[in-house]
């Protein structure tokens, strides 16, 4: 459906995108996740045709599109700043693209009405953008893209300007809409919670390269790179000595069971919720700090010269700083594939 082949982008001497290749299936919802400045927007801009790639090709629905101007591509975009036309009513905003593409009048009306309805905006169609709240504006931006019925929808951090509560509720709405509309979507964000909650597949980027890609569960539970592990939620990078299907931790205790055989020194990304603590008066591990977060409690535990992050459910009793604890690791664990080139951040 969408095939990005070895796209690069240079700004003068500095390279914003190292060769990037991605292919996306029809109807997929893919999130591009990465820290600020990693090239996410650059990639979207190239897809949209606002910026030209320095090399590489892009094919959409079997057609090579990289030489085309933006208006000739069958792509719609939702902007971080919404980019609603402030001098047009909601309805006019929705109709803008259709007028530009000279869609016939009756068809325009039909599509606009439909988009207004599924985005729950019918009552607001006559309002001007400045008369809308942030969340409503966001929905208009979305509707404006939906109405185009594009082969590909692009989203550039569309929720990042909203406050946390609103972000959560719109996130759910967006996933819902994607299901209803079924458009192939590329969603850019630097918020890992958003990426995990929404997407079929996550593409982790860093420093102009794709670090790895996979489903949220795969990337969270079995990241190949430390960067991915660190970017997708809290993690503890622990050096271990592997022996076949077992690995010895740097502190005393049972060895951890591994998902695959490995020998020698390696690193393991231990999730804070995978570590179990039990009170144990003479253990060398000590809780140094406790932060109550409501649904869970974050403990910092000092052991073998390391500071482990451990979360426990909010329903369990809180361990006070100073408490001595025994550490146990649940389940099979997974070792990182070391590759330094992608770990810089």
């Amino acid at each position: 459906m969408l095939d990005i082949q070895n796209i690069t982008k240079d700004y003068g001497p500095s390279r914003a995108l190292h060769p990037v290749s991605v292919s996306v299936d029809k109807g997929e919802f893919i999130t591009i996740l990465g820290p600020s400045g990693c090239g996410k927007s650059t990639l979207l801009r190239i897809l949209m045709g606002i910026s030209r790639p320095s090399s590489g090709e892009i094919h959409l629905a079997g057609k090579r599109i990289d030489p085309l101007p933006p208006e000739a591509r069958d792509i719609a975009m939702v902007f971080q700043s919404y980019a609603l036309f402030p001098h047009m009513s909601v309805e006019k905003n929705l109709g803008f693209g259709l007028r530009m593409k000279r869609v016939d009048k009756a068809e325009q009306k039909r599509r606009i009405a439909h988009a207004l309805e599924i985005c729950n905006l019918t009552a607001l169609s006559a309002r001007m953008p400045r008369q809308l709240s942030g969340g409503q504006q966001q929905r208009v931006a979305l509707a404006r893209a939906i109405v185009m019925q594009p082969s590909l929808m692009l989203f550039d951090e569309p929720l990042s300007n909203l406050d946390a509560k609103l972000r959560d509720s719109l996130r759910a709405e967006l996933v819902d809409l994607h299901r209803k509309v079924g458009a192939t979507s590329l969603y850019v964000t630097h918020d890992q919670a958003e990426a995990m909650a929404m997407s079929d597949r996550i593409l982790v980027m860093n420093g102009g390269r794709v670090v790895e890609s996979g489903s949220p569960v795969d990337l969270y539970r079995r990241p190949k790179h430390a960067f991915t592990a660190g970017f997708l939620g809290l993690t503890n990078l622990v050096p271990v000595r592997a022996h076949g299907l077992q690995a010895a931790l740097p502190w005393d205790g049972d060895p951890v069971l591994l998902t695959e055989e490995r020998n020698g020194i390696a690193r393991m990304a231990l999730r804070p919720e995978a570590i179990r603590l039990e009170k144990a008066h003479h253990s060398p591990a000590e809780v140094t700090s406790t932060t109550f977060l409501g649904s869970n409690v974050l403990h910092l535990v000092k052991v073998a010269g390391m500071e482990l992050k451990v979360t426990r459910s909010g329903t369990e009793p809180i361990l006070e700083p100073g408490a001595r604890v025994a550490i146990a690791i649940d389940g099979l664990q997974h070792l990182l594939v070391e590759s330094d080139s992608v770990e810089a951040a």
């Binding site: 801009r45 045709g49 606002i50 208006e71 902007f79 980019a83 609603l84 404006r144």
Partner: protein, 285 residues
């Protein structure tokens, strides 16, 4: 005492006093005097004669229409030049910074000298005419032609930088994302410009139009020097009147011109007030 200074109205008055007070005294007083003089005869009796004259004499009536013409026509020419110019100087090109500094030079050139420059350049038998004569052509009459082309070009020459400056920042204030959004939704470059950028820059453009209109309508030196001898705007007639000591008549014309300018300004305010009431800034204290 401190209580007095904490009174917000008093504070406001104290703050406004230097600027507004200054203008009230040094500008308002003479203006008021002019108004009074325009309403009395030599003997000091009340009369509307001077206004009546201004509205009945053919030369005066023509003066009024000429003033309007000299106010409006250059604005259109400047607009036609400034809008493309402000689009162009947004692009990146070699020497953009230099150009940015140089194009504003006419702002520092007094009208009188601008008119002199136009005479030297474009007069009958002037530089351009001579250059064209070498290739067997002749320059159409520009300076002192009946349509006032000389006045329009000279006024426009003075106005273009001013307008470009304002319009450029009006365009610059449009978020880049809006331009991109328009492109993304299928608008070509031209459509983006016409349907998104121009409407959004409209407040800036209209302010520029207004100020230049007022400026060129009241300007004296340019029409006097490069305007056609027959149709003269009120501003020129006023100065002429001064020379002959016809104060009452001159003040009456001055009042008409000013009233006109102010009417335009008020109309503008009432029109734009609906569109964007300015944000109320400032908390207490």
């Amino acid at each position: 005492m401190t209580a007095l200074f904490n009174d917000r109205r008093l504070q406001l008055l104290l703050l406004l006093a230097p600027g507004v007070g200054y203008l009230l005294f040094f500008f308002g007083t003479p203006l008021f005097q002019a108004l009074r003089e325009s309403l009395v005869t030599d003997q000091g009796d009340f009369t509307l004669m001077w206004y009546q004259r201004a509205f009945s004499r053919p030369s005066m009536v023509r003066g009024l229409t000429t003033s309007l013409y000299y106010g409006l026509a250059p604005v259109f020419v400047s607009l036609a030049l400034s809008v493309p110019l402000s689009v162009l100087i947004r692009q990146s090109f070699i020497g953009r910074k230099l150009f940015n500094g140089l194009y504003k030079l006419p702002l520092a050139v007094p009208s009188l000298i601008a008119a002199l420059a136009v005479i030297i350049l474009a007069e009958q038998g002037g530089f351009l005419d001579r250059v064209l004569a070498h290739v067997g052509l002749s320059l159409p009459k520009i300076v002192r032609d009946d349509a006032g082309l000389g006045v329009i070009f000279t006024s426009a020459w003075k106005q273009v930088p001013f307008m470009t400056l304002i319009i450029t920042s009006a365009f610059a204030a449009i978020p880049e994302d809006l331009r991109l959004a328009a492109r993304a939704f299928g608008a070509s470059r031209l459509q983006t410009f016409l349907r998104v950028e121009v409407p959004l820059a409209m407040p800036g453009i209209s302010a520029a139009v207004l100020l230049t209109f007022i400026g060129s309508m009241g300007s004296y030196a340019i029409p006097d020097l490069v305007g056609p001898p027959s149709a003269r705007p009120l501003s020129v007639l006023m100065v002429e009147g001064f020379k002959n000591g016809k104060f009452h008549e001159v003040y009456a014309m001055g009042m008409i011109l000013s009233a006109f300018a102010i009417a335009v300004l008020i109309a503008y305010y009432t029109l734009t007030h609906r569109i964007g009431p300015q944000a109320v800034t400032g908390d207490e204290r």
